[in-house]
C-alpha cells in the first residue's frame, strides 16, 4: 500500500485479556519497528525487525509482550494479560532497510485497558 497501515485504530479491552495489534508496512520495506507512546511520554522503542535477521526485542517491557513478522511483511504485536499501564498509542513504522532513517509511521492503535 501507499503507507503503513495499522489496525485496529482503537481498542478497548478489559484488564487481563490478550490483544493483538496489526501492522502492514510499506511494500518492499525490509525494516519494521514498533514503538508506543504513553500519556505524557515520548516514543518508547519496543521491537525491531530487519529482513530475516533475529528481531531486536530489547525494548519489550515484559514477557507479556511479543511480536512476530510473517513473510517479511505483516507484523502482529501481542500483549497477553493486559494491565492498565499498557494503555498507550502503539505505533508501527517501516523503512527501506538498515541505515535508512526515513521511517514512515502508521497512525497507531490507541489501546485502552479498563
Amino acid at each position: 500500500g501507499a503507507g503503513v497501515s495499522q489496525s485496529p485504530s482503537n481498542k478497548v479491552t478489559e484488564k487481563g485479556k490478550d490483544v493483538e495489534l496489526r501492522c502492514d508496512p510499506i511494500s518492499g520495506h525490509t525494516a519494521l519497528y514498533w514503538y508506543r507512546q504513553s500519556l505524557g511520554q515520548g516514543l518508547e522503542f519496543l521491537i525491531y525487525f530487519q529482513g530475516n535477521s533475529a528481531p531486536d526485542k530489547s525494548g519489550l517491557p515484559s514477557d507479556r509482550f511479543s511480536a512476530e513478522r510473517t513473510g517479511g511483511s505483516v507484523s502482529t504485536l501481542t500483549i497477553q494479560r493486559t494491565q492498565q499501564e499498557d494503555s498507550a498509542v502503539y505505533l508501527c513504522a517501516s523503512s527501506s532497510g538498515p541505515g535508512s532513517y526515513g521511517y514512515t509511521f502508521g497512525s497507531g492503535t490507541r489501546l485502552t485497558v479498563v
Binding site: G42, L43, Q50, G99, T104, F105
Partner: protein, 113 residues
Amino acid sequence: DQQVKQNSPSLSVQEGRISILNCDYTNSMFDYFLWYKKYPAEGPTFLISISSIKDKNEDGRFTVFLNKSAKHLSLHIVPSQPGDSAVYFCAASVKPGNTPLVFGKGTRLSVIA
C-alpha cells in the same frame, strides 16, 4: 535514563515569528539526528535531519542546528504558521548500524494567528 531530552513540553509562538525547539542528548555515540512532526491521531512524519559532520541543515522554513560539543540541537521554524501547530519529536541514532531511533518526549508547538 533518557538519552534524548526535550525539556520544554510546550511552546506558544505568534504567527510570523520564529519558533525554536530545543533538544539535548547524553549519548556521545549519537551522530545522526532527526525531527519528526506529529498531528493528533496521525503518526509522526519526518521533517528534517542532520548528520554530525554538519552543524546546520536547512529546508525551506525549517533549519536544524547541531552543537556536538554541547550535545544540543535545535529546530528553527521561520516564519511560523498556524499549520505548524503540532508535537515535534527530536530523535537520534548511532550510525552505522541497525539501532532504532531514540526519541524525546516531544514539544507541543502552538502557533497563534
